[in-house]
Amino acid sequence: MVAYPGADNPPFRMSMLIYDRRYRSLTLQAVVFILVMLMASWLINNTLHNLSAMGKTLSFDFLFRRAGYDIPQQLIPYTSDDTHLRATMVGLLNTLLVSILGCIAATVLGVTVGVLRLSSNWLIARLMTIYVEIFRNIPLLLWILVILAIFTEVLPPPNAYRGDNPAAHMMLFDTIAPTNRYTAIPSIGMTNPPGVIALGREGISWAVVAFAVVIVAAWFGRRMLNARAQRIQDATGLRPTTWWINLAMFVLPVLALSWYYGLHLNRPVLKGFNFAGGITLDNSFVVLWLALTLYTGAFIAEIVRAGILAVSKGQSEAASALGLRPQRTMSLVILPQALRVIVPPLISQYLNLTKNSSLAIAVGYMDLRGTLGGTTLNQTGREMECMVLMMGIYLLLSLIISGGMNVFNSSVKLKER
């Protein structure tokens, strides 16, 4: 507030709390705060009263008791003798697994469809429009149920793959076998395994560490190489060719490691009535993953399309007037500007996908809601604790994703002066 010269500042009176704009905002905030706190204390009071009337207390002890139920798909070792806490962890990891794989697949699908929708090919553009509109305007639950019905009703049973003249054939060079109970995919095996770092009951293979180290090193090497190329370009105007060195840095060590460890694919092979070798993925996971991918992919396609359309045509024309080749125009001019528009809504799509993974309830996939908010809740009868914990975990997950993506967003954001 501006103090007028000459005007005497009147001393504070109680009525100024209402009539003076300087103080009224304080009054308003105090009143709202008190009302909200009163409401919250009323709710908490009710809750405590109701709980004590039922003879319950708020306690998280149940997390350390024996869970006593099985989980079909588990990323860390788990048996029914483990605690509810471990069951929760298994569920959380399952949520993360389907969310991360869903985000990756939906991004690939969405970017492809979004670009193809802008294609000059009339037929493809129309097909992609139909895909996007159909998937965007029909509830996700329907897609989950339809894909579930396809998997359980249409796909062959495992024994259909048997015999000299089988009724069903495996896909992709005999590596994937979708059946009505599970989907068999190949696993990666090593003939010369390097041993395992033991971390309690889990273990991480040294091979994983070695591959991670090699890839990270290649990443740093690439950055140094590009910086050197930039220096040379700044000094001489000529940019040395780097792409094959870059490629070699990533590919050669990986190939060498694979050869050293004897990496190979274990194909699933029918033994008796079921597939052995390879990994058998529970169909609940495959169904949920496919449905989330197809549904979110349609939304991402729209985001990508809008992002590309948001870059004005003059930009690409200016780039070609400067003599940039189409590939460099894309990577230096169009993409950086389109990403700026694409990334913020993309973040919220990733968040949506993670939250929508709780629809696992429709297919019986044991995610966080299936374990902590499902079987554990029903077995222990601790609704309050389970729900609070589950919502807290989901909230934390969302905050982590949006935090991480915001960091990425600030790196592509328009740097304004």
Binding site: L127, I138, L141, L142, V146, A149, K355
Partner: protein, 483 residues
């Protein structure tokens, strides 16, 4: 002279040649095919791929669709008809299930002789919305109104509404249409009454319940007006008066009046709701409530008052961070813990509250985007005109911000409407899963997977696609002002 004549040509054409048609490769179908489908190797490959996809889909679906049966009493009968007509291995859709059980998908377990009530409520929805949605274009409005009145009467007659009910409906609807066309201001007031009318039509019971709920707003408004010169105080007093009315006076007064003048419809309890009646009830209520709540939350989040801003941020981020399913579980499992012992209120109402809270947080973010997109000059201009906060928001800021955020608002609506199917997980009968399962559980229709999904999916598609087209129409209509 002679020189020039000697050099002049022997022949000069004095008239234009008639224009030749362009070569066949540069016009018509051939040109279109060449530019749109076969302009290069990549494009040719894409076209072939597209044709292959279409062929695959056609080859899978066409036999099934073309063998579909519409007249049968059970799944077994369907299969028998198909194998008789097309051979023993043929598959076909059994859409007879839709013909037999469509009423369950649409009305759930609503009493069959009362089907006219949801139909009337749905028809009146368009009458209530028309003055708002189609304010400028008289032609579009009249088409919508005519269709709403006509279709409502036809459907009610087909669903067995009595003659008395039909005449009453016709009088009510035509009177309302006349009001909209002659007195638009009064029609807006009538639109405000619609929610109470719809609640009465859907749930039945005494008319005095909704009327007394409405009277609470009247009491609050009267108290506010009486003390208008005390500003904010009067608003608070009005709110308190309305709350007191609802808590203590509404029920006894309604009871007394019902004793004097019994205006009653057969009550229908919430567990008889299902199918699209349930989805649309929850969806429309959620939409109507979440928009104002979203606006208030967005304004709170952009407010200068730190306490209010912090609360809005916490609320919005909390709601956006958890899946809707968990909120619905809170509504069904935990709400009894939060309320005083012995309180038990309707499950549909609980779900509507949760869905509203959920979508209002998303709505707030969309509107906040619109508010942020306004140039700062607009806020400063409003201040320079001496408008106070609410007047500035109402007259200058919100009209522009809401206009910018229309696409986001409508897509939030669509998302919410699609999410109404999730109520199946708290035991309500949504049209998609619960109703399909119910129908499939009967002996006759065991094994009917695709037909219910196709039917329900198509209705969802039509409604959601219609909403998104309307938002595009609205954008175009509002853009015209900027020319």
């Amino acid at each position: 002279m002679s020189d020039i004549q000697a050099q002049s040509p022997a022949f000069v054409r004095e008239t234009m040649l008639p224009p030749q048609p362009p070569p066949s490769s540069a016009a018509g179908v051939v040109l279109w095919l060449r530019t749109n489908l076969f302009s290069g190797p990549l494009n040719i490959a894409l076209t072939v791929l597209g044709l292959a996809i279409i062929w695959m889909i056609f080859r899978t679906l066409w036999p099934w669709l073309s063998h579909s049966v519409w007249n049968a009493g059970s799944m077994a009968e369907c299969r028998q008809i198909i194998s008789e007509a097309y051979g023993p291995d043929a598959h076909g859709g059994c859409f007879a299930i839709i013909k037999h059980r469509w009423n369950q998908f649409v009305f759930g377990f609503y009493p069959q002789d009362l089907y006219w009530r949801p139909v009337l409520a749905f028809g009146l929805l368009f009458l209530a919305l028309a003055p708002v949605l189609f304010a400028d274009s008289a032609k579009a409005r009249r088409i919508v109104l005519g269709l709403a009145v006509g279709l409502t009467l036809i459907f009610s007659a087909m669903l067995g509404g009595g003659a008395g009910a039909l005449v009453g409906m016709a009088v009510l609807m035509l009177g309302w249409v006349a009001l909209i066309e002659t007195r638009p201001g009064w029609a807006l007031l009538a639109s405000l009454l619609y929610p109470f009318l719809a609640v009465w039509l859907l749930w039945g019971g005494s008319l005095w319940g909704p009327v007394m709920a409405l009277a609470g707003f009247g009491v609050g408004f009267a108290v506010w007006q009486a003390g208008a010169r005390y500003g904010l105080f009067a608003v608070a007093l009005g709110a308190v008066a309305a709350a007191l009315w609802w808590m203590f006076a509404a029920a006894p007064v309604a009871h007394t009046l019902a004793g004097l003048v019994p205006l009653r419809l057969t009550p229908v309890s919430s567990d008889q709701f299902g199918g699209f009646v349930l989805s649309i009830t929850i969806g429309v209520a959620g939409i109507a409530l979440s928009l104002p709540m979203g606006i208030i939350l967005a304004l709170a989040r952009r407010s200068d008052l730190p306490v209010i801003k912090m609360m809005a941020v916490m609320f919005i981020e909390f709601i956006r961070g958890v899946p809707l399913i968990t909120l619905l579980f809170v509504a069904s499992l935990l709400l009894n813990y939060f309320l005083p012992p012995g309180t038990n209120f309707d499950i549909i109402l609980r779900v509507i509250i949760m869905v509203t809270l959920f979508s209002s947080a998303y709505m707030a973010e969309v509107i906040r985007g619109g508010l942020a997109a306004l140039p700062k000059g607009q806020y400063e201009a409003a201040d320079a005109l001496g408008l106070d906060y609410w007047k500035a928001q109402r007259l200058i800021i919100l009209p522009q911000a809401l206009k910018v955020s229309i696409p986001g608002i409508v897509s939030t609506f669509i998302g919410m409407f699609k999410d109404t199917t999730l109520v199946v997980f708290v035991g309500l009968f949504d049209p998609l899963k619960a109703m399909s399962d119910t129908v499939r559980a009967s002996f006759e229709w065991k094994g009917a997977y695709w037909e219910p999904y196709i039917f329900v999916g198509s209705i969802f598609f039509i409604l959601c696609f219609g909403m998104s087209r309307y938002s595009m129409y609205l954008e175009r209509r509002l853009k015209r002002d900027h020319r």
